[in-house]
């Protein structure tokens, strides 16, 4: 049995009080991503009890749930209807909640092929920093009434509002899935993936671990079979576990040693791999590099920028410094004004994204 309870009024009241007193709040689900972002501070505002699926209409491909709902509960419900959250949100260690997944905006291996977290967000209910309960977007696929403040919540790490409820677009789960390994160098990952996609191969993940290329195919049984014929390669048995452990950073690769920390570097399509020391996994067909390194942050950022991308100090290192790529002055000014527009007292997860926000 899953519990379901609506704590909107209590949460809004807590925010209003904190806002009046100017006290910082640390918005917390199950804290599976507490390591992420800059150091958290403030009184904890717990969302785990604000949970439950509010509605799920299989024929609408839409699900609405409260932010404290565990992702595993959503996954179970969706599996019953052969549906899924196409962005494969990571859980890391433990029971990640929906609110945390949206606030962090992180997506798994399927992202370049099926869409990002924000691509699937249709609407939200939030409490802003004044303690007002606001609803934006809705449960329909197309909606251009008002500014899109729903998608703005994705990746904002709770600095603009406490997410109460989210409506998401779902996709049908693939009928068939198969993973192949191919002995090709990482440098060819973009080119090969493109070639496969353009011939109708239903690629849903493309990852290189330094030794071989892993390709996941998802779709109708006939098109997966077609893909296998096109690609060749070897059938990879423990696939489900591999993709889950990659998504949740449980592969052995993700354990840092000594002075190492974990970096996430995202790059434009077809960018060459970054010239940086350390161990890496190349995901998203070359567009997301996980790097374990003890190189200097400034050096890593410069290299990511040189290639047209950016770097996030994902795990470890000094969390009182910038962990996300610094913004230039006009953009930072705009961010500060937006923060003020939602949270004038600066009480919602202050400093978690950038020091001045």
């Amino acid at each position: 049995m899953h519990t379901s309870s609506d704590l909107t009024a209590e949460i809004a009241e807590q925010v209003r009080e904190a806002s009046g007193a100017g006290l910082a709040l640390e918005i917390r689900g199950n804290a599976t991503k507490r390591f992420y972002g800059r150091q958290a501070r403030g009184e904890p505002l717990l969302l785990t009890e604000h949970r439950g699926i509010v509605s799920h209409e299989p024929s609408e491909l839409v699900l609405t749930a409260r932010s404290g709902t565990p992702l595993t509960e959503l996954a179970r419900r969706l599996a019953e209807h052969n549906q899924m959250l196409a962005f494969e949100p990571p859980s890391f260690a433990g029971e990640a909640t929906l609110g945390g997944a949206i606030a962090a905006g992180l997506a798994g291996p399927r992202r370049p092929f099926a869409g990002s977290v924000r691509d699937m967000v249709l609407g939200v209910r939030i409490v802003n920093g004044r303690g007002q309960v606001l609803q934006f977007g809705g449960q329909v696929m197309k909606n251009v009434a008002g500014y899109d403040l729903s998608r703005l919540m994705v990746g904002a790490l709770g600095t603009l509002g406490v997410i109460l409820e989210v409506s998401l677009k779902l996709l049908p789960a693939p009928q068939a899935e198969q993973t192949l390994t191919v002995n090709e160098p990482a440098a060819r990952i973009h080119e090969l993936t493109e070639q496969w996609l353009r011939t109708g191969v239903p690629v849903s993940a493309a990852t290189h671990d330094g030794t071989r290329l892993y390709v996941r195919l998802s779709g109708a049984a006939s098109s997966v079979a077609f893909g296998k014929r096109q690609i060749g390669g070897q059938n990879f048995g423990p696939a489900e576990r591999f993709w889950r452990e990659l998504r949740d950073h449980r592969l052995a690769f993700f354990t840092c040693r000594g002075a190492e920390s974990l970096w996430r570097i995202v790059l434009p399509p077809a960018a060459p791999p970054p010239d940086l020391p350390g161990a890496w996994i190349n995901d998203w067909a070359g567009r997301q590099i996980w790097l374990r390194t003890d190189a200097e942050p400034a050096h890593i950022r410069r290299e990511a920028q040189r290639l047209g991308g950016h770097a996030t100090h994902f795990r470890g290192g000094d969390r009182t410094m910038d962990v996300f790529q610094p913004l230039d002055a006009p953009l930072l000014r705009l961010h500060q004004r937006l923060k003020h527009a939602f949270d004038p007292a600066g009480i919602l997860n202050p400093g978690r994204l950038y020091a001045p926000l």
């Binding site: 606001l134 329909v140 909606n143 251009v144 006939s222 434009p268 991308g309 953009l331 004004r337 003020h340």
Partner: protein, 499 residues
């Protein structure tokens, strides 16, 4: 939709010295880049919603980003409103000029700067036409997915400002899902880059925020879109239904069956008849509703899907199903749908196109209510719409020359939009709020949400100079709209008793 002041007093509180402004702007722009005479300004007095007209104070048509930036700086310094305009095809009055403001035309920004087939991106200026991008990408077997019906004319900048959709958005997403990066000029003259060619960019998702913001937050001066490979195979099928309800249920059943068609469009009997009379596409004029379904992808997959869709349609009571045999027939199946608007245009002197979106499961019920509401107003309504997305386009037929008909058409439009909100939908799926649906925003959003919108607007445009009076209603406007509501004791009517 008639000649009356559409702006409210609080939207026209600016004091502009036009001679001084001309003196400042003249040296910044090429000789033809500043239009001051009435005849020249007339050409910009309306957009695709032609019944709303307003002469701009001036028209500025810069040719470079630096010129555009200089115009914005001078307008900001002198507190002069600015309305950006792409191709002027907006159906909501989004590009309607402001009486005290500069109409900033982006028509000269019409260059495609780069098509990179390897990375599948196009870098273009904002005035480039939607279709021109796909045409430039075609030699590489690529295209730009969002395909509004206006794609031969509308600009990519206008598409972003409206988050435009099209027939293929069901599978391939809206504008917001297909744009990677924007360069935005703020009214204060900053030039900022939003988004990135890499997946995600640091900080808030301002790219998503600016998409669909109707020219209220900044002026888009460069765009990078993602391109898709042409589908390998396509199949189009057409199904007739004995009732509109059955057609509506079939739409929900296809999606629930795990198939996402590339396009899933529906037409009701008046629309079928009008299209058939207009271009003889071979439509079944006996049907109460016609569903057109396009499936695309790899050959094996498409063949599998077409069988599945056929069996679902049959289960849902389709009494005739035809699968197009070749490209020519596929084009013919689509031709009637594509010509539906002009076809309907022949049925009455005027029509008014609505744009509400609803959860698909309510399709049948809402279509029924629309016909009842139309009958009550003594008007006819024709339906041609993006059924797969639940995006309705009821076309209200009327004759603007007959006293009272326009007002009844507008009243009916308002009722339809409020019906959409009532069933959990929205007043606009893709055409934007603009000036047209601004009163219905008061129905969809509570005052606190509107206040949050004002605060966001002020973060970008503290003086409120970009497109004043559009998209987000003032609380005064809503208060007046609300008072109307109470006094008349019935659903609110849009656009009546404006001051």
């Amino acid at each position: 939709m008639s000649e009356r002041s559409l702006y409210r007093p609080e939207d026209t509180r600016f004091e502009v010295d036009v001679e001084a402004l001309i003196t400042r702007l003249r040296p910044l722009l090429p000789a033809e880049g500043l239009i001051t005479h009435e005849q020249g300004r007339r050409a910009y007095e309306c957009d695709g919603l032609a019944a709303y007209k307003q002469l701009p104070l001036l028209v500025a048509s810069p040719e470079t980003v630096d010129q555009a930036r200089a115009v914005l700086r001078i307008c900001a310094e002198n507190r002069v409103p600015v309305v950006a305009r792409g191709s002027g095809t907006s159906l909501s009055g989004g590009a309607l000029p402001h009486p005290q403001g500069v109409l900033l035309s982006l028509a000269k920004f019409n260059r495609i700067k780069e098509i990179d087939p390897h990375r599948r991106i196009a870098r273009v200026e904002p005035g480039v036409r939607n279709l021109a991008i796909s045409e430039a990408a075609a030699p590489f077997g690529l295209y730009y997915a969002p395909d509004p019906s206006s794609q031969i004319a509308c600009s990519i900048g206008g598409n972003i400002a409206e988050n435009a959709g099209g027939v293929h958005c069901l599978k391939y997403g809206l504008t917001v899902h297909n744009v990677l990066q924007l360069t935005l000029l703020t009214i204060e003259g900053d030039r900022i880059t939003l988004g990135s060619l890499a997946p995600e960019s640091p900080g808030y998702d301002l790219l998503a925020l600016v998409t669909g913001s109707e020219g209220m937050l900044g002026v888009i001066v460069e765009v990078v879109v993602q391109l898709l490979p042409n589908p390998l195979t396509k199949q189009v099928l057409m199904a007739s239904f004995p009732t509109v309800e059955a057609g509506g249920h079939a739409v929900a059943a296809i999606i629930a069956g795990g198939v996402i068609p590339a396009g899933l469009e529906m037409m009701d009997r008046p629309a079928i008849q009008a299209a058939e009379d207009f271009i003889q596409a071979g439509y079944d004029t006996q049907a109460a509703a016609l569903l057109i379904c396009e499936l695309d992808g790899g050959e094996a997959e498409v063949n599998e899907q077409i069988r599945k869709v056929e069996s679902i349609l049959r289960e849902q009571g389709a009494d005739r199903i035809r699968v197009a045999r070749d490209d020519a027939e596929r084009a013919r199946f689509w031709a009637g749908r594509k010509a539906a608007f002009p076809a309907v245009g022949r049925l009455a002197p005027d029509y008014y196109c609505m744009d509400g979106t609803i959860p698909r499961k309510h399709l049948a019920q809402v279509l029924k209510r629309i016909s009842e509401l139309s009958a009550a107003q003594g008007l006819r309504t024709v339906n041609v719409f993006h059924a797969g997305d639940g995006n309705l386009h009821p076309l209200i037929l009327f004759d603007g020359n007959r006293p009272g008909e326009l007002e009844r058409a507008e009243a009916l439009g308002g009722q339809i939009l409020e019906l959409c909100v009532e069933v959990g939908g929205t007043i606009t799926g893709e055409h934007g709020v603009g000036m047209e649906k601004i009163d219905q925003m008061c129905v969809q959003f509570r005052p606190e949400a509107l206040e949050q919108f004002y605060a966001v607007k002020a973060a970008f445009d503290p003086q409120g100079l970009l497109n004043p009076g559009k998209a987000i209603p003032t609380l005064n406007r809503c208060a007046e709209f609300g008072r109307l509501h109470v006094r008349r004791g019935e659903l609110p009517h849009p656009h009546i008793d404006r001051f």
